[in-house]
């Protein structure tokens, strides 16, 4: 669990220009209770900064939302011009996975939100600032309930797993870095497939040009945002829920900054994007599933946003192996890793094997 202590602060910086890097870190004054001066934390239920000392609630006034919907052009053939933000004085880096996060407000943890490894303080690296975020809407208690409910419904899980997780799991609330990409691509494709014709297998092929467009494609902006986090819980991302970046939403949570440039992100996510592009071409051109498709991108236009998305991560160990369950901080959707009971699986496998082997042997003897 997070321990409550003093905040890790960065120097406040505000720029009046609507540049891509307009994020400003929370200042001590912004996160302090205006009644007693204690540190506050963002409460998802009330959508306000709550003081744990006196219970005072400060509603976060809706900021100008124009930045939440604004997207910035990216040209892969032009040199990178986006300036990096001011590096924080210190960041926490995980000794295990290498992930770096910032803790805002009252949240400070000795454990990595991504992998539960030990964290150490390191000098802050310069990164790119987020433009928008979706604040946490699911509270820690609610997320915990959902995670335990998910675990209790697992088939073939070891006995007493839910009780074990309830007793030992560690909770971490994290704003994970993502991009949204709008891309429009002009492609040249070459498809080949096999089909029966007059009882003979023949090879068919087709080629041509095709335009493919993606709107608000959600792409992880960190190698620590695993497929488990992205596919498990955030595939129902709704861009309409984005708000302009306000550092007060981060109070009480960990957050990872964007460290990759847009070009680096494009390259990092190229394999997944290629798969999506091929799938889209197959759908649009009504190709079957067994098609070998080669695609070449002739031209691409892209627009992007740097955003932060909330996620609760539960870490637990079972038989010496680490597992995690992730709960979306947006809608509570839950997915995760779980152990299997070898005894239960072996019992089912043994029964199925006995049936199949028996039927096979008897049938073989009859045929003989």
């Amino acid at each position: 669990m997070f321990t409550h202590s003093s905040a890790i602060l960065r120097v406040s910086r505000r720029s009046p220009s609507p540049s891509p890097t307009e994020e400003s870190p929370p200042s001590q004054r912004e996160l302090s209770c205006n009644a007693c001066g204690n540190q506050c934390r963002f409460d998802p239920a009330q959508e306000a900064l709550i003081c744990d000392g006196c219970g005072n609630a400060q509603v976060i006034a809706a900021a100008n939302q124009y930045r939440a919907g604004r997207e910035y052009p990216f040209d892969p053939n032009s040199p990178e011009t986006e300036p990096r933000g001011v590096p924080p004085a210190q960041e926490h880096q995980c000794s295990g996975c290498g992930g770096t996060v910032l803790f805002s407000g009252t949240a400070l943890s000795e454990r990595c939100p991504y992998c539960n490894g030990p964290m150490v303080l390191v000098p802050g690296r310069s990164g790119y600032d987020a433009m928008a975020l979706i604040p946490f809407r699911i509270s820690a208690e609610d997320a915990r309930k959902r995670a335990l409910d998910w675990i209790s419904k697992r088939e073939g899980a070891p006995n007493q797993l839910t009780e074990h997780v309830a007793r030992t799991a560690r909770t971490a609330g994290l704003y994970a870095p993502f991009w949204t990409f709008d891309t429009s691509e002009a492609l040249t494709y070459m498809a080949t497939w096999m089909e029966y014709e007059h009882k003979r297998m023949v090879t068919r092929s087709s080629s041509g040009h095709h335009d493919v467009a993606f709107d608000d494609l959600l792409v992880p902006a960190s190698p620590h945002v695993t497929p488990l986090i992205r596919d498990g819980i955030l595939h129902e991302f709704a861009p309409g829920a984005l708000r302009s970046f306000d550092a007060r939403y981060l109070a009480g949570f960990a957050a990872e900054r964007h460290h990759q440039s847009v070009a680096e992100g494009f390259a990092f996510n190229a394999p997944d994007k290629r798969l999506r592009t091929k799938r889209k071409v197959c759908e649009d051109r009504a190709f079957g599933e067994n098609v070998s498709l080669a695609v070449r991108t002739d031209d691409i236009a892209a627009r992007y946003r740097r955003i932060l998305l909330p996620v609760w991560i539960f870490h637990y160990d079972h038989s010496g192996r680490p597992y995690k369950v992730v709960v979306s901080g947006i809608n509570g959707q839950t997915f995760g890793e779980r152990p299997y009971s070898t005894a239960k699986l072996a019992l089912v496998s043994g029964l199925v094997s006995f049936l199949v082997v028996s039927v096979g042997i008897v049938l073989g003897m009859v045929l003989a």
Partner: protein, 97 residues
């Protein structure tokens, strides 16, 4: 006789191996079902991790055909009257001439 026992041993071995590999197949089946039902998997890395060769149909059909073969072998090496005493007389020591 030894051929008959070999057939029985093959059946037992088949059952054992099937049970052993079935554990991995069932684990993969549960994992894939959870991913499809709850995560709606899309990414290349996640799909690749599912391991298609562990499909239950492959497991069951392989075991079934092997069992069929073992059954056929058992039946063809069992003496017609069911008595093992006269089983495969070629294996018995020949009387000294």
């Amino acid at each position: 006789m030894s051929t008959y026992l070999s057939s029985l041993a093959a059946a037992a071995l088949l059952f054992g191996l099937s049970t052993y590999f079935g554990v991995f197949v069932l684990e993969s089946l549960i994992r894939r079902r959870e991913a499809q039902r709850e995560a709606q998997v899309e990414s290349a890395s996640h799909v690749r991790a599912q391991g298609r060769w562990l499909a239950p149909t492959v497991w069951i059909l392989t075991v079934f055909w092997l069992a069929l073969f073992v059954g056929y072998f058992i039946a063809s090496t069992t003496p017609p009257n069911g008595s093992l005493k006269h089983f495969n007389t070629r294996d018995l020591p020949r009387p000294a001439v």
